[in-house]
Symmetry: C2
Subunit: 227 residues, 2 copies
């Protein structure tokens, strides 16, 4: 194995350290084209020749930049995650009850908006399709890049609510996952299966659904909840 030492992707070790791996503008153009192909055609639509044609680049450059086809897929996930890089802002240190509730609902709507977006769905489909293959890493990559960001932002939000006296819980992660389940239910899987999910059609529908979910969450974890 020659190990070209191209820009550094899909190395065998890859520790927990994110190791930003910035892409050049040209590479980002190519990855954008790849995302376009993926969204409308699925994984099979990403062929090296097809991507080179769609991005007006040469196959040789693809292999120089990303190593091989799997490297392209991994780079797509890393790139998309780098775009979504949500501002994990502390959102001010103390919010009254009603605006805090609005913060939670805003998080929920953001979550629903991102996860029902075509790019997110396509990348999740890609990672899931590759998950069966041994040693694919794409799933880990997606979880590490995508979910952890959401999780950390949500957990910060929840702990702020607890400090402010709006919420009561022991395990932050557990509370977050409950909120996640109340909001998403099985919508994510159904969306990935191609089903039509009414609650994700319009902003209005999403807002009302999230409001109900947050309402349930407060009945379970609100400061005035029994037990």
């Amino acid at each position: 194995m020659d190990h070209h030492h191209h820009n550094a992707h899909h190395d065998a070790d890859m520790e927990g350290a994110p190791l930003d791996e910035a892409f050049t503008p040209r590479q980002e153009e190519v990855l954008e084209a790849a995302l376009g192909l993926l969204v409308e055609g699925g994984e099979r639509a990403i062929t090296t020749a097809g991507l080179a044609r769609a991005a007006n680049c040469s196959k040789e450059s693809l292999y120089k930049w990303f190593g091989d086809r799997d490297g392209v897929l991994a780079a797509m996930i890393a790139y998309q995650a780098s775009k979504v890089r949500v501002a994990v802002g502390g959102s001010g240190p103390q919010r009254p009850a009603d605006t805090y509730r609005a913060d939670l609902e805003g998080f929920g709507v953001d979550l629903l908006t991102v996860l029902s977006g075509p790019a997110s769905l396509a990348l999740n489909r890609l990672a899931i399709g590759q998950a069966s293959r041994e040693g694919s890493r794409l799933g880990d990559l997606l979880v590490a890049r995508g979910r952890r960001a959401v999780s950390s932002r949500a957990k910060a939000l929840l702990e702020a609510g607890r400090r402010a006296g709006h919420l009561r819980f022991e395990d932050t992660l557990d509370a977050f996952e409950t909120l996640y389940g109340l909001i998403l239910r099985d919508m994510h899987v159904r969306l990935m299966l191609g089903e039509h999910v009414p609650a994700t059609n319009s902003d209005r529908a999403m807002a009302t659904h999230v409001a109900r979910a947050v309402d349930q969450f407060f009945r379970l974890y609100g400061a005035d909840a029994q037990s």
Copy 2:
């Protein structure tokens, strides 16, 4: 298009009527072999030549029975669903509160057990991977065959609980989806991504998790819940 009128799969219309499509024992053997290939190798492992070799049958028979490769995939989903055919038993008409709670927990453990099983995960991965491709139907098929069965059983259980005075809710489907979300959270997606989910490792872990989820469900929909 000659339209061989083989055993009747993946026709263009396919109404709501299930239309059982029984398979011959030989065909079931082949589908079982295909499931084995799928579980350990993903979709790419199901090649016509490979399946013929693994099942000791000829490619010609595959095409006679299932039409083409996509027909094999659809048949696999239909076959697996026909195996899981859960007994949607009424479970007796009136259960005291504690045993009814046990019924709910039993349902939850069954749900978790099925969805975390390798065959279910592999088929869901398959359907999701095919969902991007236009006109794939596999997602619809999986939803129709799998989810609807679970959904109808659960809704019957919930309505029995309401009739018995254990639960209070307006929309049965909504209550069911809430229960679903409380139990599964995002475990299904994470499992499909290949992640390690502790709550699905042992029967003990599943039982305790489901017990907590059902507890939360009763706090939201129990007869003694406020509002």
